[in-house]
């Protein structure tokens, strides 16, 4: 691994994103727009917005970074630039960490904008610290990114890559406890939910929002980080120096 190459890669990925202002606008504006919509859908039930709004701030970056990275990496694979990089003195970790640094900074900006809108303009109220929610949002973004890097290996086209979003993200959203509390689910679904990373991401956010036990928040966050590292390791195995 080489810091110069890692940072050059992060800078390159950010430059590519800057060249695509429409994608950046979508990444930065869709979450605040959705959270605003959410606020007014639950206009009559302010308690619901406070309960669900906080975790949503932290979950948006997960899904948007998942899609953006899986397509960015798919392009790297299909345009031959990955093959070129693999024939150069670049460690796989340089590439993965370069992507990680670039998308974590985009996610930090996204989470900050969404939080500013939710807490500042929409009057979202949480018992816990706002900065913990923002930090968890960034961690979830990096989780989404590493899953996206791994999943991109299974897509041949951008159409397929986009379809991985409902396939990978939606079931986790349904089972993480955001929509129905997990202890009220069928036994099988409840058991499955333990194995899904978003469950722990949501659990950390829900506790952070309630100002609950910081021990649980830290435990859940560590699980999220652990799954992120595992997904990056899996992603590294899909970056082949030699291909058939």
């Amino acid at each position: 691994m080489n810091l110069r190459i890692t940072m050059a890669t992060a800078l390159r990925v950010l430059r590519q994103l800057r060249r695509d202002p429409r994608t950046l606008a979508l990444v930065f504006l869709v979450p605040p727009m959705l959270i605003t919509l959410f606020r007014y859908v639950f206009n009559g039930q302010p308690g619901t917005f406070d309960r669900v709004g906080g975790p949503m701030v932290g979950i948006f970056p997960f899904s948007s970074m998942f899609v953006v990275t899986s397509i960015a990496m798919l392009r790297e694979r299909t345009t031959g630039t990955l093959e070129r990089l693999m024939s150069m003195p670049l460690a796989k970790l340089d590439l993965l960490l370069g992507y990680g640094i670039a998308f974590a900074s985009v996610a930090a900006a996204q989470a900050s904008i969404t939080s500013a809108v939710a807490f500042g303009l929409l009057g979202l109220h949480v018992q816990g610290a706002v900065w913990v929610v923002v930090l968890l949002a960034v961690a979830n973004a990096v989780l989404g990114m590493s899953l996206g890097l791994f999943i991109s290996a299974f897509a041949r086209t951008e159409f397929q890559a986009v379809q991985f979003m409902p396939a990978v993200v939606f079931p986790q959203l349904l089972l993480c406890g955001l929509i129905v509390p997990r202890d009220r689910m069928e036994h099988v679904l409840h058991a499955v939910s333990y194995a899904l990373p978003l469950t722990w991401a949501y659990d950390a956010l829900a506790h952070a929002v309630r100002g609950g036990s910081s021990g649980i928040v830290v435990r859940d966050a560590l699980i999220v980080v652990g799954v992120t590292v595992a997904a990056l390791a899996l992603a590294a195995t899909t970056l082949r120096r030699r291909t058939p």
Partner: protein
Amino acid sequence: MRTDSACGEPPYARGVVPAIEIERLRVVRGDTIAIDGVSLTVESGTVTGLLGPSGSGKTTLMRAIVGVQVVEGGRVIVLGGPAGSPPLRARVGYVTQAPSVYLDLTIRENLAYFASVLGAPAERIERALDVVGLRGLERRIVRTLSGGELSRASLATALLGEPELLVLDEPTVGLDPVLRRDLWRTFRSLAAKGTTLLVSSHVMDEADRCDRLLLMREGTILADETPRSLRERTGGESLDEAFLALVEAR
């Protein structure tokens, strides 16, 4: 035992070790045999043309030399080491047939990124721009370039590392004759400075510019000789005729 290794110059640079040594290489892609027991040697500081119809295995052979191809059997030694081994990654430059550069970046941004990866100093970017004739276009987004400009941008990237072996897959496709001539002059001057070049082409008129020719067909080498001896042996005026003569003689 060699006693002269203390002079610091790697042995391949003096022609002691060939730039490429291939023994009984066999590559299977899907259910077809892409390379069928190829053995060959490429001397350093030469320009070798790899010719043959599309589908003959040129790209697969080049990929095996660069070390990005899964091979079934045989041995590929490049610059004295196994093909694709980590120390070779900075010493071998490879330009794929499809230009592999970032379409959403400018030419300069592409070159700057690959220069960082290769650890090449910034002045090499300027030199590479001049060599491929893209000076003045460096701020253009790659997506907006013509096909010829695009393939030259891809070639410039491979020049950044000043590789000892340059493997070029059809680098002159779609270029106008003036640029083609200029690029071949560049290849010759790189070879004069000691770089080994392996250039694939399906344009037979480029063959005369090579020191040696490798003619491929159906995963095997049909001929491995100088352009002149190939013409004398087959009696063909053009290399196309020579190629036909070889195929029919089988």
